[in-house]
Symmetry: C2
Subunit: 438 residues, 2 copies
């Protein structure tokens, strides 16, 4: 019965791909969703996993569970490594081929170090759960190293954190690390006071959260500085090593832990669409209905797509935009099948929010903006609301309630670790100075 139904192949189970699949649930098509991970990831809360506030499974749901009751959908675990748009087929894991009638490319974005790929090892980015667990490990191990280090200068380097890029991810990481240092780790160490931790946030643009209204940028910077974060704007990074960061003005910042929030680019899979025009970030320039100009059966959605708005700016790479694009592409396929004319995609901007720390956030709803506690409560509500799956929602709410009351972070677990720690000094093996007694 299925064999004459058109085959819609969706690459990626993020917000865009998943919404495309769901929107096709009653369409007379066969849907195959291919993802190289088995889980849909709630990326807006990834920084919480990186900063030990949430467990990895709290923000991940198995894609095939989400689509379990959608009978026209099949989920396959695998990485699409090539798209042959002329032959209408894709290659999975470099070996298998899947053909399609309609293709929805929702392959998302990857970390991007602007051509300095050697920076990746010293300044990891935050796009996947594995990234988040790596960053968590680095943050927690830095404090462990400081406890072992008897040399005061060397210890200082373990307590210095630099975050590059003051978009929402960088701002959220900076606020969380301060919170860990000042609250969560209080009284945990004998060799230093965790409150002596220093966090520096570096931004190339002239202000933090450059995509937000200027008023919110100023409020966010004031909130960050109130927390104790050093904010450097208009600062260009010229080098990153395991010891720290060099800036264009000649400044060097010594820090053992450097995190990257400065940029992403579209998945390299887009490069295999050879005839497609792409922007600087590697995103495919799509037609108004999100299809490719020379391949109307191929749609690119989410962070992999460059969609020009009426004012000339591209649709931002945020979750609500990805969800709307996924749904639109599904609708476009159904219109195409019915012989109807395509409709242009219009991004409905519901506003944007960034959290900065406990009870601190900024929210931009166009005409109205919020900051401080109100923005933070809005941020909490919206993010819990959109978490996929009842269980995750409840679990995350409970974690947050508990973390708020007790300042604890429930996921302070270092898994496999390969970072070299300082030697313990033979002549003074046991640190005796307690926090607060120095």
């Amino acid at each position: 019965m299925h064999t004459h139904r058109p085959h819609v192949l969706i690459i990626g189970g993020g917000f865009a791909g998943l919404n495309a699949a769901k929107a096709l649930r009653r369409a007379p098509v066969r849907v195959t969703l291919v993802d190289r991970r088995n889980h849909h990831l709630f990326q807006p809360l990834l920084y919480q996993v990186a900063t030990a506030g949430l467990s990895a499974p709290d923000i991940a749901a198995p894609i095939r569970q989400i689509l379990a009751h959608q009978d026209n959908a099949t989920v396959l675990l695998g990485e699409v490594t090539h798209i042959d748009a002329d032959a209408r087929e894709v290659t999975v894991d470099g070996e298998s081929r899947l053909s399609y009638d309609y293709l929805v490319v929702a392959a998302g974005a990857v970390n991007h170090w602007f051509g300095n790929d050697d920076w990746a090892q010293h300044a990891p980015g935050l796009k996947s759960l594995d990234d988040a667990l790596d960053i968590r490990r680095r943050i927690l191990l830095a404090f462990e190293a400081a406890e072992r280090e008897q040399d005061a200068v060397a210890r200082r380097e373990w307590l210095d954190f630099v975050i590059i890029g003051a978009g929402p991810t960088g701002v959220e990481l900076a606020g969380s690390i301060v919170d860990i240092a000042q609250k969560t780790l209080a009284r945990n160490f004998r060799n230093f006071d965790a409150a002596d931790t220093r966090v520096t946030l570096i931004e190339g643009a002239g202000r933090v959260l450059p995509a937000y209204p200027e008023k919110l940028s100023a409020q966010a910077q004031a909130q960050l500085e109130h927390l104790g974060v050093t904010v450097l704007t208009g600062a260009r990074v010229t080098d990153i090593s395991e010891r720290g960061v060099a800036l264009k003005d000649g400044t060097t910042l010594t820090a053992r832990t450097v995190l990257w929030g400065a940029g992403v680019k579209a998945s390299p899979l887009l490069e295999t669409l050879r005839t497609t025009e792409r922007d600087r970030g590697g995103r495919a320039k799509v037609s108004a209905d999100l299809s490719l100009p020379d391949h109307p059966e191929v749609f690119v959605v989410g962070d992999a797509a460059h969609v020009a708005q009426e004012d000339g700016t591209p649709v931002p790479g945020v979750a609500p935009a990805a969800m709307q694009m996924g749904t639109h592409a599904a609708g476009a396929i159904m219109r195409r099948m019915r012989g109807q004319a395509p409709e242009p995609f219009r991004y409905a901007d519901k506003g944007s929010m960034a959290t900065i720390g406990r009870k601190k956030a900024v929210a931009d709803f166009g005409r109205v903006t919020f900051q401080g506690l109100t923005a933070w409560l809005l941020w909490m509500g919206v993010h819990v609301l959109f978490l996929i799956g009842f269980r995750n929602r409840l679990a995350v709410m409970m974690e947050w309630a508990y973390a708020y009351l007790a300042y604890h972070r429930s996921a302070r677990v270092i898994l496999a670790s390969d970072r070299a720690l300082p030697a313990i000094e033979e002549d003074d093996p046991i640190p005796l100075r307690r926090e607060g007694s120095a």
Copy 2:
């Protein structure tokens, strides 16, 4: 003020080491606890992490958080690689040295393949969180591979699971995998029915749970078989490969996923105590007060210790015994400091329990035994009660309540994966057969 206090060095933050540290909280000593992990692990629930029921952080608590308010205790992250009992010092990470006045060796046990170390890669054991995440990945990836596999014979191999060793860990893994297959994954696949999964449990002794009373072994086996597990007792494994298991009687069992629950031995660190007599499992034979006969200032506790009971059998390697030993060693140190005579350790056996599946378990309290729902409720209550930390207790209870109601498992996340999956067949790319329609 501290410098003249005796230094008690504790190796290991498991049940034994942590209880030794806590029992010394009012003693006039300096305590240093060294562990190669930053977390105390609630090992009795490790199989729940391995079978996607719980998140890793749910059963782990940072050691330094547990001891944060114990001012006489310092926690160091590091691996003790050598003990020099004559010099009264240990080596950390192969380079640093720490001296002590009293040493408590609570280094625990490691997986043990009885001299067949090449089996480790095909049949992983379950002792750490990393082990648990590896097993979780293998179980979940086996089903993903089956969905991609078009050859019916090859697919069968992905749906066959063999567990070697029918102690509590093996029994718990077998029951959980059946539960995953029959309930959690229902309707998740299009290419096969997950309920067709086969689980075989192999035990070298004549019955499952050989350390339990015979009546409970029989009940446990009946419960396992009722769930659909094939139980082979008196079966000796002679070879394990990535394709399956060979038995001494010539039988071969084809299975892509083989798990090892057949044995552990004491930490290899014990081998560096060269003058100490050890048993077959590598455990140090200690005096009645848990100290070493030739080094009364060194105590060995928990799974690393061989403690003979009055009836000649050794104290079992279970959490309550480890906790009691840790507390006893701390008391023995305090008695020694006060010039009091040593007291012998006596294991207070509170009974033992093993869970088999939803609403199925066995419990042995000496004169009284339970099975079925009663034993399962007892098992749940006791395990939640002993979980360290309020937050973990609440989180785990919630996960269980939800899992029980919805049959879901909340941690179905595959992190970094390197297992090769079957190619997708070109001529029949989309599996169309749905579960239940075969």
